[in-house]
């Protein structure tokens, strides 16, 4: 009778522990592993197969990462309207996810952060308008590309207000400011171009300091030219002194080719296990779980103790970034006898690393608190139901322990840019992809690129190796 009663009293927490474990038992692979087939197809440049693999893995229109990957794959498949639809759906979903679901947060508290819908890191959100503006540009629709420019600038202005005074590495997107400035100038919207260009200059100074990405050499010439066009004599003098070697204007009868070279694959997050020692008597010493979790999180870097002091080894899983440095390091672009070399303008991998590093203390504390809660719950189940119940509870809670490894992994490792001044007319563009030692790894050719006098043409290329 006593045993029965103990069992009955243990049913509720046992079910709770069961809930914590069962829901997540099915999918214990990391996000990168789940997207393995898609990535394999991408490396083989088979975008249709990549899209099929993505849909097979789970076509969920409520999942931001599905929509982002879909948007990007459709972009490479040159299905630009569909790509924009997917990206727009992602943007709307991200906006909706500003409202946090308390129930999902509660589930995450006892299972894993994976229970909370993913709403994208700021640098990932900023790259949505980049791909959307490319979609419009490649369809010859400058007006809608400019809408994306304004959206990007609005997002970055909101981000700047949000992180003002904080030590956040990513406070503005230098590349997006630069690219939008060029497009505003293309449309004759010089004031907007001027604002974006000056913000690009400031943001690149920070990029150079934090991410090791210096401003492109052409930026100085752009500033000088716009200052002159707008009649800002003082600014023109300042920029002429600051960038004495930069060229300002296109020679008559010439246009410009801008090559955007997206290289490699963004880093993936992998799961690593941490074992944190709980020492005898500590459970009674810390009445508040938050305080206890803070103490345990501090042991992530290592803790010395006598074996006899050990009460329990708490296992928690946290994400760790693995970079996938591309074999190709830069590209040589040749057209009409003019040769240029691409330079890094956006280091996606570095942005990703900074984003994770900045959120890591919060992730660690939350993870340890969750682990501790599950541990205390399991101990209670054991106390109420006996050793087997406790063992079962332990197994289930351990199975639910998963790091949040999600991210937009189809993004490139980084984006490079080259600018070539070319005589007007139809041009064939030859691309040579070089490794770190300058050896040719691959080549590509793009025919019939039209260069119009006084205008810019844009060419986007992706390498996966």
């Amino acid at each position: 009778m006593r045993a029965r009663s103990r069992l009955a009293r243990g049913v509720v927490p046992a079910l709770a522990v069961l809930a914590a474990g069962v829901g997540l038992l099915a999918g214990c692979a990391t996000h990168g592993q789940q997207r393995a087939a898609m990535q394999q197809a991408l490396v083989g440049r088979d975008y249709a197969a990549a899209l099929a693999a993505l849909d097979r893995q789970g076509a969920d229109p409520q999942d931001v990462l599905y929509l982002l990957d879909r948007g990007l794959l459709l972009h490479y498949l040159e299905r630009y309207d569909e790509s924009n639809e997917a990206f727009e759906a992602a943007e709307i979903r991200i906006q909706d996810l500003y409202t946090k679901s308390l129930s999902k947060q509660a589930v995450a508290l006892v299972t894993s952060d994976v229970a909370i819908p993913y709403d994208g890191a700021p640098f990932e959100r900023a790259l949505i308008p980049y791909y959307r503006l490319l979609n419009y540009l490649l369809q010859g629709n400058l007006e809608d590309a400019l809408v994306e420019c304004r959206k990007a600038n609005l997002f970055l202005a909101t981000l700047a207000t949000k992180v003002e005074g904080e030590a956040t590495a990513y406070q503005d997107d230098a590349f997006l400011q630069y690219l939008t400035a060029l497009l505003y100038e293309d449309a004759g919207e010089w004031n907007d171009a001027w604002v974006s260009l000056r913000r690009a200059e400031t943001a690149y100074a920070r990029y150079a300091e934090v991410f090791g990405v210096p401003p492109p050499l052409t930026l100085g010439g752009d500033l000088r030219r716009l200052a002159r066009e707008l009649g800002y004599r003082d600014d023109h003098e300042i920029y002429r002194a600051r960038y004495p070697d930069a060229g300002e204007a296109l020679p008559p009868g010439h246009g410009e080719l801008i090559v955007l070279f997206e290289n490699g694959l963004a880093p993936v997050k992998e799961e690593i296990d941490l074992t944190l020692p709980i020492l005898k008597g500590e459970r009674d010493r810390y009445r508040e779980a938050d305080a206890f979790a803070r103490v345990l999180a501090g042991r992530a870097v290592g803790h010395t103790y006598e074996p006899a002091e050990l009460d329990y080894l708490l296992r928690v899983a946290i994400p760790e970034l693995r970079r996938r440095p591309p074999l190709v390091r830069s590209a040589e672009v040749e057209a009409g006898g003019v040769v240029g070399r691409t330079v890094v303008v956006e280091d996606v991998a570095a942005l990703s690393a900074a984003a994770l590093a900045e959120t890591m203390p919060r992730i660690l504390l939350k993870t340890v608190l969750r682990g501790l809660t599950k541990y205390l719950g399991s101990r209670w189940v054991e106390k109420e139901t006996g050793e087997i119940g406790g063992l079962l509870a332990n197994l289930l809670t351990a199975a639910s322990e998963r790091a949040d490894t999600r991210g937009w992994i189809s993004l490139p490792d980084h984006i490079q840019m080259a600018r070539l001044v070319l005589p007007a007319g139809e041009q064939t563009v030859n691309l040579r992809f070089l490794d770190g030692d300058g050896y040719e790894v691959a080549v590509a050719r793009v025919d019939s690129v039209e260069i119009r006098p006084g205008r810019r043409a844009y060419l986007a290329w992706r390498e996966w190796e």
Partner: protein, 202 residues
């Protein structure tokens, strides 16, 4: 955390997740002039209201009576380009159609076809010349040239912070006398919207 509270928390959470996942989709048919604001973005109601109000304003200004007195007939107006300079992909074509509709329905001006539409009409006339009977085929050279061109732009300003957003739209339209380049009417309409979004839901 007390283990019992821990257990109750999970069960409540799991139950809530379960119930939120069962929401049914409902579709209700509504009148097309019903105002429904979902996201705060520019929508069909904005397009209709702005075009109707601006054209009403346009047609009550002196340029119309001055033209009627001078020419003795209704002015022919062509709706040209309305540039979208906002942060949204506004279907400008719908807005232009709304403007044309408001003008045609007012009856005081003649709206002539746009360049693309004219091309289609000319193709049709060319077709008629070859295939239709002489009595019914329409002749070339009788088109009405526009006296005025209406064009403009849409701008927006967004101010957003922590779940609150103020959207400000401004539409500027200009009516230009094609012969003299004189601006005979300048219209402006502003719309301001506040969009609030809660931080938490069950």
């Amino acid at each position: 955390m007390n283990p019992l509270r821990f257990a109750v928390l999970i069960l409540v959470a799991v139950a809530l997740v379960g119930t939120t996942g069962c929401a049914k989709r409902t579709v209700t048919r509504v009148e097309t002039d019903t105002t429904i604001d979902l996201s705060g973005r520019w929508n069909d109601t904005d397009s209709r209201l702005v075009s109707e109000e601006m054209i009403r304003d346009c047609l009550t200004h002196p340029w119309l009576t001055q033209h009627l007195t001078a020419a003795g007939k209704k002015p022919a107006v062509i709706v040209g380009v309305v540039r979208n300079r906002t942060t949204e992909h506004i279907p400008v074509g719908t807005f232009i159609k709304d403007i044309e509709r408001a003008m045609v329905n007012a009856g005081s001006v003649e709206v002539v076809a746009s360049a693309i539409e004219r091309g289609d009409v000319r193709d049709e006339r060319d077709d008629q010349e070859r295939f239709a009977s002489e009595e019914t085929a329409k002749a070339f050279g009788l088109e009405h040239g526009a006296d005025y061109m209406l064009s403009g732009e849409m701008n927006s300003i967004t101010d957003a912070e922590e779940g609150k957003k103020v959207l400000f739209y401004q539409v500027d339209l200009t009516l230009i006398n094609i012969e003299t380049n004189a601006k005979v009417w300048l219209g402006q309409k502003k719309i301001k919207k506040f969009v609030g979004q809660g931080r938490y839901e069950p």
